[in-house]
């Protein structure tokens, strides 16, 4: 690839998890891929400047999370764009739980209703499999705060998912 071997190794190991994380966080695969590219460029620049990376996984997720924050700041988004787009989609208002694709859409929509402060730890934990210590490092908060956010995120997610699919959806 012509890049430093160190970066090449990181890229191949984490490009899919990072892109997936960003897609889930944003609810938009295309936008997620775009921000993943931005995140890896930032990582590359930092490595060229001589930044020492002790925990590459947490480091990359932190960069990716910061890229999303910047994206939200730029777009002045206070709510989840895809949700607004999907709110009026009759197909999503009552999805058939038996349908796998519909269930994924419902999960995505419920996820999108979480506030960003709870969405990121939930995605990192359940989708990406990061430990609470790693999430704390990524988000720059304490481990206790991560647990607290996870409890609230799960509660919010249940309410949002029930609102979309109904209680029987579970």
């Amino acid at each position: 690839m012509g890049l430093d071997a160190e970066f090449e190794t990181l890229f191949h190991a984490y490009q899919q998890p990072i892109a997936t994380y960003l897609s889930h966080l944003l609810g938009d695969a295309e936008r997620g891929e775009e921000l993943a590219q931005e995140a890896f460029l930032r990582a590359y620049r930092a490595m060229i400047k001589g930044t020492e990376v002790e925990h590459p996984k947490a480091w990359l997720y932190r960069i990716a999370t910061n890229a999303v924050r910047d994206h939200w700041r730029r777009a002045r988004l206070v709510r989840w764009l895809p949700l607004w787009e999907n709110e009026h989609d009759p197909a999503l208002s009552a999805p058939d739980p038996a349908d796998g694709v519909a269930e994924q859409l419902a999960v995505q929509a419920a996820l999108a209703q979480l506030s960003p402060r709870y969405r990121a730890p939930l995605v990192l934990h359940t989708c990406e499999g990061l430990s609470t210590a790693e999430i704390a490092a990524v988000l720059g908060i304490r481990q206790g705060a991560v647990k607290m956010r996870l409890v609230r995120a799960r509660t919010q997610f249940r309410r949002a998912f029930e609102a979309i699919c109904g209680p029987e959806g579970e």
Partner: protein
């Protein structure tokens, strides 16, 4: 936290993060608590749902785009990174080098600093209230490593920097930051370094705030700034350097004036106040508008009764700011206003009356210098001021010449030869103040040009030779071949024979108006000088001893309020006691072998028919008489007085019909030159009365 809540916070953590004990505890709780079991089941379902979301890798196109973009940026990024690393390394090396220098300097000066801190300021026995303890010590130690200006600030800074904990923390923090810069900007080193540095600075700030206001003082800066000061002036008062406007000094000087202690000999023998003791000083917290103070004193009246009285004072300006400036001589007593003592001081000491008998000499006019008629260039003379006379009657004077439009002016130093016209010696921006050498062959003057430092020049009849920079108007001859002057607040003797320059002393710190005011005795053994607070001092060059002479040298005729006799054994000087209403001028003569001076003249309301008479230019006439100028502001003229130095007489010797509009007079070698208008000077000869009598016979 309830058990259920604790278990739920445990349930959000992945099971692989659980310890065996946690696993057992959760399992046991779920078996006994149906609600938590339901939550666990629900969250497990959530995890399954979320984990089932499809993954997304970056598309090959996106990856190619990333590589292309990285390649585009690669070269510039690497160059910038190299530059940043180079700068970081250089900064790190610089910081470490500075730290090394600082530590080395600290270690090297540690011993001497500690020694200086233990040193007490030498006392000046003749002065009852001594506001300037550091002046004497700085004069005695001109090689002080910090210099006189920073004496006060350096003391506090020293105590601050030498505090081991803040100093070491600060140095360690800076060193860690330096290491962090060198070591590829390791974030952990940066953080630790910044933390240690912050700790050091906080410790320094605390130490500064809790530091005693002066050596041995228990009053802290924090307390002084928040609550104000209260101290016993008899025990450990804060140094003037810290709380620069000390109100008890002002009250003490006024009380001194009441009982006749201001000045080296009693001013009032008949004062009702016999003595006093200052008991307590309270100074309020500094405010924007100023500082309020109250001085409590016990007054001992001459009839034997005692009285304790408080004197409120208001000082203008937040004096605590001077603390940061470290001004060691900023005792400006005039800054305390509205003293209730003012009313008591309206009765000044009696004047020395003029003698009835004939004066020992008369002033005979011999020539008139019309400066306006001498000017040949386009323009006119605005004012002419005499500065010196030679033994053959030649006169040096400055004339301010304005262009006819009046927009531009220059100063010309002129040499007038009786009967031979005038010659221009130099053209300067400000007054040149020419002075003849004793033999009259050379002229010393100040060459000032706009925007450049003033230079001291010697003119030998042909060319002018520069002796170097000079402070404002400090120059005078010491013998035929030696010149005394000050440059950058140091007094020098410059030999014109071999060109050598000898440093005499560091002049007292103060504003520039006062710092230059000094006169070296003709034998070079003594220096008379004034300090910023208006004190007049006599210093022995050989043994360094300092004696207090009085307060407030008259401001008339720059540098001329004191004059040595030809042998350098007696000093005639004028003082101005500003603690009386109105101010009282006095003329003294002091023999360097005596401890007390002799009062020759003193003004008071009615003296020379005026309420306010300051004394100015003083010069010796032979061995036994001094001639001096007395300004009468209310009358708008100047009188010339003669005083016998044994105190036997005081005479008004102004020639009848002579009107002197301002006190710029010169006298030397038996001649006097006075202005009679703005552009006319009168050359007078001092004729002894005995000679007149013999002539008549």
């Amino acid at each position: 936290m309830t058990a259920c809540r604790r278990i739920r916070r445990q349930l959000v953590v992945s099971r692989r993060e659980w310890s065996a004990a946690e696993r057992e505890r959760v399992s046991a709780h779920l078996q006994s608590c149906a609600a938590c079991a339901a939550v666990a089941e629900e969250w497990a379902a959530q995890e399954r749902l979320l984990a089932a979301l499809p993954g997304h890798g970056m598309s090959p196109e996106r990856q190619r785009e990333l590589v292309a973009q990285a390649r585009r940026e690669d070269k510039g990024l690497r160059a910038r990174a190299r530059l940043t690393q180079g700068l970081s390394t250089a900064a790190g090396v610089l910081v470490l080098a500075l730290m090394t220098v600082a530590v080395t300097a600290l270690v090297r000066h540690m011993a001497s600093w500690q020694g200086e801190l233990a040193t007490t300021t030498p006392a000046h026995p003749p002065v009852r209230t001594l506001p300037l303890p550091d002046v004497a010590s700085s004069l005695r130690d001109p090689a002080s490593p910090w210099g006189r200006v920073l004496t006060g600030a350096a003391d506090r800074l020293r105590r601050l920097v030498l505090s081991p904990v803040p100093a070491l923390l600060t140095l360690a923090g800076l060193a860690l930051l330096g290491v962090g810069l060198l070591w590829r900007r390791r974030r952990v080193v940066w953080r630790v370094g910044a933390g240690v540095l912050a700790g050091g600075l906080v410790a320094m700030a605390l130490r500064f705030a809790l530091m005693g206001l002066g050596p041995g003082s228990t009053v802290t800066l924090l307390r002084a700034l928040t609550l104000g000061l209260r101290y016993d002036p008899r025990v450990n008062p804060p140094p003037a350097a810290v709380w620069s406007y000390r109100p008890e000094t002002y009250i003490g000087r006024q009380l001194d004036a009441l009982i006749g202690r201001t000045g080296p000999s009693p001013l009032r023998e008949d004062a009702a106040l016999a003595g006093y003791e200052l008991l307590e000083v309270r100074i309020s917290r500094p405010r924007e508008w100023g500082t309020r103070a109250r001085v409590t004193a016990r007054l001992d009246w001459r009839d034997g009764s005692e009285e304790t009285r408080s004197f409120p004072l208001i000082g203008s300006g937040p004096s605590f700011l001077r603390l940061l400036l470290g001004d060691t001589t900023g005792v400006w007593v005039g800054d305390w206003r509205n003293s209730p003592l003012d009313a008591l001081l309206t009765d000044p000491a009696p004047a020395v009356p003029l003698s009835e008998g004939a004066a020992p000499f008369v002033l005979a006019p011999i020539d008139t210098i019309d400066a306006g008629a001498l000017e040949e260039s386009a323009g006119y003379v605005d004012i002419a001021v005499p500065s010196d006379i030679a033994a053959d009657g030649r006169v040096l004077f400055d004339q301010d010449v304005r262009s006819t439009e009046g927009s531009r002016s220059v100063n010309r130093l002129m040499l007038y030869r009786p009967g031979g016209g005038a010659q221009q010696i130099a053209e300067t921006f400000l007054s040149a103040r020419g002075a003849f050498s004793l033999d009259g062959r050379r002229v010393l003057y100040v060459d000032s040009q706009k925007g450049s430092p003033s230079r001291l020049m010697v003119w030998d009849g042909g060319a002018s030779l520069s002796l170097g920079e000079i402070d404002w108007m400090t120059h005078h001859w010491v013998g035929d071949d030696t010149v005394a002057y000050s440059a950058r607040d140091r007094a020098y003797l410059h030999s014109l024979v071999n060109g050598s320059r000898q440093s005499l002393a560091t002049l007292p710190v103060g504003d520039t108006v006062r710092a230059w005011y000094f006169r070296v005795a003709p034998d070079g053994e003594h220096i008379a000088y004034s300090t910023a607070d208006g004190g007049l001092w006599l210093r022995s060059v050989s043994d360094g001893s300092v004696a207090f002479l009085g307060w407030d040298v008259s401001e008339l005729s720059w540098g001329a309020g004191m004059a040595w006799d030809a042998r350098g054994e007696r000093l005639a000087y004028s003082t101005m006691n500003r603690t009386t209403l109105p101010d009282q001028a006095a003329l003294w003569v002091r023999d360097i072998h005596d401890s007390a001076p002799l009062l020759l003249a003193r003004s008071a309301p009615g003296f020379l028919d005026d309420d306010y008479v300051p004394f100015g230019k003083v010069c010796w006439v032979g061995e036994g008489t001094v001639l001096f100028a007395a300004d009468r502001p209310n009358k708008g003229d100047v009188r010339l007085l003669a005083a016998a130095v044994d105190g036997s007489g005081l005479w008004d010797v102004t020639s009848s019909g002579l009107s002197i509009p301002f006190a710029e007079v010169a006298c030397s070698h038996g001649y006097v030159v006075v202005p009679t208008s703005r552009t006319q000077l009168e050359l007078l000869q001092i004729v002894p009365a005995q000679a007149i009598a013999e002539g008549r016979r």
